[in-house]
């Protein structure tokens, strides 16, 4: 019976990625290769981040929020952004439009993130007899993460792939991108310093991901207009 729960949570965590791929024109243009390459880049980025974290961070003595450590984590989080940059610009993609490129990269990135961070806890934990809401929250988080990664990929493609952008929008683009990149630090700040409960943090993540997605969409379409 609890295998049932595992299947449910797995569907919640990984389902949207599959749905996104099949629903949008991505499946028609066969961008699977791009997504896989993006996933591999994510893996490498994750490894580099791990090494940096192990080198620069010390083990926290108390559970509280340490500003210095969090700043270090933000800086290491920017490695993520570098990885995305690499995936968007340096990899040779077949002729797919910019529109689809960022979606494919974002999707691959988010899928690798979900698998790496959420599959193992799900397999080990959700199959037990004891019921907790934890894995359902994790699935919702995965959904929010997908949206945020897509927005970040969109802004990234705007920043690095599009040459002519309206002057006024540039700082906004960079601001939104920075906000998205530092989102993990913001959530950990909420969890540790303000001591929000898991469901409040997940609610915040979903809300903020929708808001940021809306902003990115607006910015993206604003930059489309001159062309």
């Amino acid at each position: 019976m609890t295998l049932f729960h595992f299947v449910n949570c797995a569907l919640l965590t990984f389902g949207p990625h599959v749905v996104y791929y099949s629903a949008t024109p991505l499946s028609e243009y066969d961008t699977m290769g791009t997504s896989i390459k993006a996933a591999v880049v994510y893996l490498l980025t994750a490894l580099i981040k791990l090494v940096c974290l192990a080198t620069f961070l010390k083990v926290p003595e108390n559970e509280g929020f340490d500003p210095y450590q969090e700043v270090m984590k933000v800086l290491i989080g920017l490695v993520d952004v570098a990885g995305l940059y690499f995936a968007l610009t340096q990899l040779t993609h077949r002729n797919i439009s910019q529109n689809h490129k960022f979606q494919a990269v974002g999707l691959g990135w988010a899928f690798a993130d979900s698998v790496l961070h959420r599959l193992a806890p799900l397999w080990i934990g959700a199959r037990g007899l004891e019921f907790t809401w934890e894995y359902i929250f994790q699935g919702l988080e995965a959904n929010a993460n997908l949206v945020m990664t897509l927005s970040l990929a969109a802004l990234g493609s705007l920043m690095w792939l599009r040459k002519n952008k309206p002057r006024t929008l540039v700082p906004i683009i960079y601001a939104c991108a920075f906000l998205l990149a530092t989102m993990p630090s913001i959530t950990s700040y909420l969890r540790k310093a303000l001591e929000w409960q898991t469901r409040e943090v997940v609610g915040f993540e979903i809300f903020s991901s929708l808001v940021m997605a809306f902003f990115s969409w607006q910015l993206f379409s604003a930059c489309q207009r001159p062309l």
Binding site: M1, V19, A23, E130
Partner: protein, 560 residues
């Protein structure tokens, strides 16, 4: 006509949505993780081929509790019963057991005051009322065949919250099942196996008296106590009063006389024999074997034997149980000796005569085994009536608090003083050999430390192997004070067969129920479908969405 129909439809829809949400939230609340609790199993044994006790050790059922509908089907539920509520509900349980109704499992919660660790904490409990309820419950459980697992556990905050939740759900008059969710109690132990016939170890130690030079044998006085127990929960059967108090008293008497006998000038003209026997609850089978192992001359040399049983819980009256009539010369002599000392100490000692019936295998007191070998013997006890078979042998309520070291000390003084007056020929004199404050004073700390050790050691014979450190401790203590310490290992006679598995870990899980999983799946499915449609509409347009469902039809028309 249309308007009322739509409002009716709308109200129906909203009602069904509301009930759906209610079921979803009723199935599970924001739960915390599983808990693990130490539990103790009811004894499982066969007596003369008749299976008794709890026959199953594995438990995996939903938890439920009283008050319950009398017709509820509990064959797939584990009943959780706190003892403090039981005095009102014992009839329910008795009914269930005597009518052999099916039950998934039974978990009885004992108040913390009975435990050793938290005996000073825990809710205030009326111990006398508890004692009666416990006696009834134990009698019921030990003499019935229960084809389901029965466990005992101590109350704790985990169980308090668990009971609160279950009782709240009971108001919807539905015991928790696998569709509703609730709590699941799981004890995963392998099935209990038969144990090989238990070994009983009898200890004896001598304090030889001072021979005058001629080779005549000195008379012997024996002091005996049985040290093993039997109770409903073997892992909790510590028997502080029955018979831990007897053991502690015997060891203290041995210590006092070893001081006297270590100096040849104060060695008396009697041999003292100390015996710690096992097999007490089983009609004193160990005592019988021990006596049988004696050389007949040695046995005939025993003037009389004093057996100690449950001497830790009396206040003003001590009982002397005999099987020879009190008018018998020897009995009268011994009784006079005791009552003299008792009078000086300020309490009374009463004689109770119980005839032995040779054809009846039931042996209620240890002295009866001596009497069957024609040795004069008596039992000193705080109990006034002979206990029934398997009663007062280390029950659940018989923990440290039921044995008072001061009562044991008084018993020690009584026995030691009377023995010393007889041995040294000071009968009738006003003399206080073991005076308080002297070097021969009764050491209450020694008694207390032995009572503490005994209250921490469950001593049910089949589960007490001869390599147990407690056995070694007894042997060492006896060797410290006596000589010629001998351990006799025998196999318990009789029709008892025991099974193992006396302790286990109970896991309590909060489960969600299949209904919840199905509902969640439906919600998830609809979410994914909505997401799919949304994405198709926004990226490809509404026509594409419709085309997905019409594609086969379109192809057919094209080919046609």
């Amino acid at each position: 006509m249309a308007a009322p129909a739509t409002t009716e439809a709308f109200s129906n829809l909203s009602y069904s949505m509301f009930s759906l949400l209610l079921i979803l939230f009723a199935c599970v609340e924001l739960g915390d993780a599983a808990s693990a609790v130490h539990v103790y199993r009811l004894i499982q044994y066969d007596l003369g081929g008749v299976p008794l006790g709890s026959r199953i050790s594995h438990l995996n059922h939903h938890a439920t509790s009283l008050p319950l509908d009398p017709n509820a089907d509990l064959s797939r539920s584990a009943l959780l019963v706190p003892l403090l509520d039981l005095d009102l509900d014992l009839s329910f349980l008795t009914d269930y057991i005597t009518r052999k109704k099916p039950l998934g499992g039974l978990l009885i919660l004992l108040p913390q005051k009975l435990g050793n660790k938290f005996a000073d904490f825990g809710k205030h409990v009326d111990l006398t009322r508890l004692k009666t309820v416990l006696h009834q419950l134990e009698d019921l459980l030990v003499h019935a065949e229960l084809p389901y697992p029965v466990y005992f556990a101590y109350e704790s905050s985990t169980f308090d919250t668990l009971l609160g939740d279950i009782r709240g759900k009971n108001f919807s008059s539905q015991p928790a099942t696998s569709t509703n969710g609730g709590y699941k109690l799981v004890v995963s132990t392998p099935e209990a196996k038969k144990l090989s016939p238990p070994t009983i170890s009898n200890f004896q130690g001598w304090l030889p008296g001072q021979k005058d030079g001629d080779s005549e044998q000195l008379p012997t006085i024996a002091i005996v106590a049985s040290y093993d127990t039997f109770g409903a929960a073997p892992a909790l059967s510590v028997g502080s009063d029955s018979n831990g108090s007897g053991v502690a008293a015997l060891l203290e008497i041995a210590r006092l006389f070893s001081r006297l006998y270590s100096n040849p000038k104060t060695r008396g003209k009697y041999n003292l024999l100390f015996g710690l026997t096992s097999g007490g609850p089983y009609n004193y089978n160990g005592t019988q074997k021990w006596l049988r192992s004696f050389d007949q001359r040695v046995r005939e040399g025993i003037d009389y034997a004093i057996c100690l049983n449950s001497v830790g819980s009396w206040e003003n009256d001590l009982w002397m149980h005999v099987s020879k009539p009190p008018e018998n010369v020897y009995i009268k002599e011994i009784y006079d000796g005791f009552s003299e000392v008792a009078q000086d100490m300020g309490f009374s000692i009463n004689v109770k005569h119980k005839k032995i019936n040779i054809s009846n295998p039931r042996v209620a007191w240890e002295h009866e085994q001596f009497s069957r070998f024609r040795v004069t013997a008596l039992t000193l006890s705080g109990l006034s009536a002979a206990p029934e078979f398997l009663q007062s042998t280390g029950n659940l309520h018989d923990t440290r608090k039921s044995a008072d070291e001061k009562a044991v000390a008084r018993t020690v003084k009584l026995v030691a003083e009377s023995l010393a007056r007889q041995i040294y020929g000071h009968k009738g004199k006003k003399i206080d050999i073991f005076a308080d404050g002297s070097s021969l004073a009764v050491n209450v700390h020694h008694i207390r430390s032995w009572l503490d050790l005994l209250s921490r050691t469950p001593r049910v014979a089949p589960f007490l192997s001869k390599n147990n450190p407690f056995i070694a401790a007894l042997k060492k203590e006896l060797s410290d004070h006596t000589v010629e310490v001998h351990v006799q290992n025998e196999v318990l006679d009789g029709a008892f067969t025991f099974y193992d598995s006396t302790e286990a870990t109970l896991n309590i899980y909060q489960v969600a129920g299949v209904t919840f999983d199905f509902l969640f799946l439906m919600v998830l499915g609809s979410y994914l479908i909505v997401l799919f449609s949304f994405l198709v509409i926004t990226t490809r347009g509404l026509d594409d969405l419709i085309n997905i469902f019409r594609r086969p039809a379109v192809r057919k028309s094209k080919s046609a």
